[in-house]
Amino acid sequence: MKLKIKNGQVIDPASGEDQIRDLFIAHGAIIDPHKAGHEFSADSEIDATDQIVCPGLIDLQARLREPGEEHKASMQSELAAAIKGGITSVCVPPDTNPIIDTPAMVHMIRQRGRRLEKARVYPMGALTTGLRGETLTDMATLKEAGCTVLGNGDNIIENTLVMRRAMQYASTFNLSVFLTPLDHWLRGNGCVHEGEISTRLGLPAIPEAAEVVALARDLALIETTGVRAHITQISCARSVEKIREAKARGLNVTAAVSAHHLHLSEQDIGDFDTRYHVLPPLRSLSDRDALREGVSEGVIDAICSDHQPHGLDAKLAPFSESEPGIAGLETLLSLTLQLVLDGVISLPEAISRVTFNPACILGIDVGRLSPGAPADVCIFNPSLKRKINVGDFYSQGRNSPFDDSSLAGQVTAVIVAGKVVSI
């Protein structure tokens, strides 16, 4: 199967390339345009005039709900949703049911993903057995089964000694650890940012210190163990500062932010609109601006969807009893492009935050258009605005506050391993 993508604006953050040219694909891999030359006889062609051709997006954090919560969504629906959003690789946190703490689970999820022939699935192995924060998983075995990174989902490891040992042991096998900093005690039963809105609405609050305290602890341990670590999500200005400082000190650490934290704030909650109930909570406008600044500076390396599809009932409850999360796969690209329209970053930088950078964080060889790389490609029209309608989502989760908003960026074709995947 040989494919020629004609006349698109090829943006490849890995090489810094940004020019209009043809892209050649053969046998599942990107071909050097100089070598392809005139002899390249494509089996099919895609006209990408006036469109962007970039690596397929890589989402560092998406819950697919399978196995364990198939009433909310399935891998079939969610991986189709990923493709519709231009996402060709998805990293799945280990908090499925059963938990991804055995090689059997890793195999099962990978196999199921492969059979569906949509986006690639990268299961993240659990850092501790049952995510309980007590004993270490068989990390080397999980790596052998195909995990490139390990994490503990949203379940924080409270015991600092266990955390330290988990980091040391992971580093032994050159595994990265994914950490979600949130102090259990300070979080309490909170559901919104502690600030003006929690005070006005009388909702139990999560102070920013819940994140900053846990982050400071984790950074101290990352420094002493030398493990390669990734902070899955940060939500406030103080965390951006902490990461900036840690990077300046030479720590081997990266960080991501969810796309919605870059556009929304506590102010959007209005009269208890549960679509804005997310974890970590939406914080103040100045926190949002600091996160944008962090993305623009490169302190924050990647933008993820933090996709969490829910059934309708999950959000039809009093705010604090509703379930947190936004179905984000189908808006990740648009929300990232919006940062370009808002003047936060350039288009190639925006693309790097959802392609090459997350690929490096996951330690996988996709996310680039260099010759020989697996041909995962996203083609989209950057100027076409579309009205988001959750009713049109492929995801079974319709929980998006961006319903009815006009967003730029329409995905027109997606290629995984050299094959065009139907949208």
Binding site: G202, L264, F319, S320, F402
Partner: protein
């Protein structure tokens, strides 16, 4: 250009496009004129003239009021019941624990079931903030919701009866200084009182509590926060005490009831710091010897019983307004 977010709360829930009151969920979002109009209309319901009473007795005839209390309450539920009955409505009381609803039936299922029984007004109390709003967003237009307390968020009829009582005893609110004392953090009463006092133009609003019971950024609501009660009471005209729920304190928010009374209890000495004719209010039930000394609670400066009586009139006025039965 930033994304235009379509927020479900961009259209107000409480008031329709013609300015009619659809629900009574929170003081925020209502204007001065409407608050004054409701207070004036409540005054009519307190008339001792039996002829007036009788003419009111049929205002809500044929209407059904459902007291839907997911959280225990005797006082508030009873005053709503009396208010509804005095207006001629059928009143049904439902005290259902949310524990049973959690087992399957959601809040909205419960409401829909009752709606099918032709209820016109739901009086809702729940221990989660936002429950009344949630219900209001999902009922058909002819059904009206009155928030009788949602979590820590709002207790707007309590605030209205407080405003009514203050006006009756102290006159124009814009000339008065207020101190709200106690567990501000968990208090829906305090939040609604602050909103009402703001809208009615109070001269000064202070909130007084230890730092553990003061919510973050409370100053953004237009109040002065103080941790010293002696300072807080200096020259105020109205002292609004809050009920302290000891069972919520976990020994961490306050160390003990003794220490709390020592530092924040309202006793005669402290009352003397306020303006000479200052009055004391409390939403009840009072914890004597915890937040308030008995002699203060029973003194002629205390408006506690007057608050209860006025509560019925204010709730009658709100029900009549929602049913569209108030005289123009």
């Amino acid at each position: 250009m930033p994304i235009e977010i379509k927020n479900s709360s961009s259209q107000p829930l409480q008031i329709d496009s013609g300015g009619r009151l659809l629900h009574f969920l929170a003081i925020e979002g209502l204007d001065r004129q409407r608050l004054l109009q409701l207070l004036d209309s409540a005054a009519q319901f307190i008339s001792s003239d039996t002829n007036v009473r009788k003419s009111q007795g049929s205002l809500l005839a044929g209407h059904t009021v459902v007291n839907l209390f997911f959280e225990d309450s005797t006082r508030t539920r009873t005053t709503f019941e009396i208010a509804g009955k005095r207006l001629g409505a059928s009143v049904i009381n439902l005290n259902t624990s949310r524990l049973s609803t959690r087992k399957g039936e959601t809040v909205l299922d419960t409401v829909r079931t009752l709606e099918a029984m032709d209820a016109d007004i739901f009086v809702v109390r729940d221990n989660s903030s936002g429950t009344a709003h949630l219900i209001a967003r999902h009922v058909p237009p002819h059904v009206h919701i009155i928030n009788a307390g949602d979590g820590r968020h709002a207790h707007p009829t309590q605030a209205m009866l407080d405003m009514f009582t203050i006006r009756a005893h102290k006159g124009d609110i814009s000339k008065l200084r207020f101190a709200i004392v106690g567990d501000i953090l968990h208090s829906r009463v305090a939040r609604s009182q602050i909103a009402a006092l703001q809208i009615l133009g109070a001269k000064e609003i202070r909130v007084v509590a230890p730092a553990t019971l003061l919510p973050t950024e409370i100053e953004r609501l237009g109040v002065t926060a103080l941790t010293n009660i002696d300072e807080g009471l200096e020259d105020v005209d109205v002292i609004m005490m809050l009920r302290l729920q000891l069972e919520r304190m976990e020994g961490q928010l306050i160390p003990s009831s003794q220490e709390y009374f020592r530092c924040y209890g309202l006793n005669q000495d402290r009352l003397n710091r306020a303006a000479p004719d200052a009055v004391v209010m409390h939403p009840g039930p009072m914890n004597r010897g915890l937040e308030i000394a008995s002699d203060v609670a029973d003194s002629d400066r205390s408006l506690v019983l007057s608050q209860v009586t006025n509560g019925i009139a204010v709730r009658m006025a709100i029900m009549a307004e929602l049913a569209g039965m108030n005289k123009e």
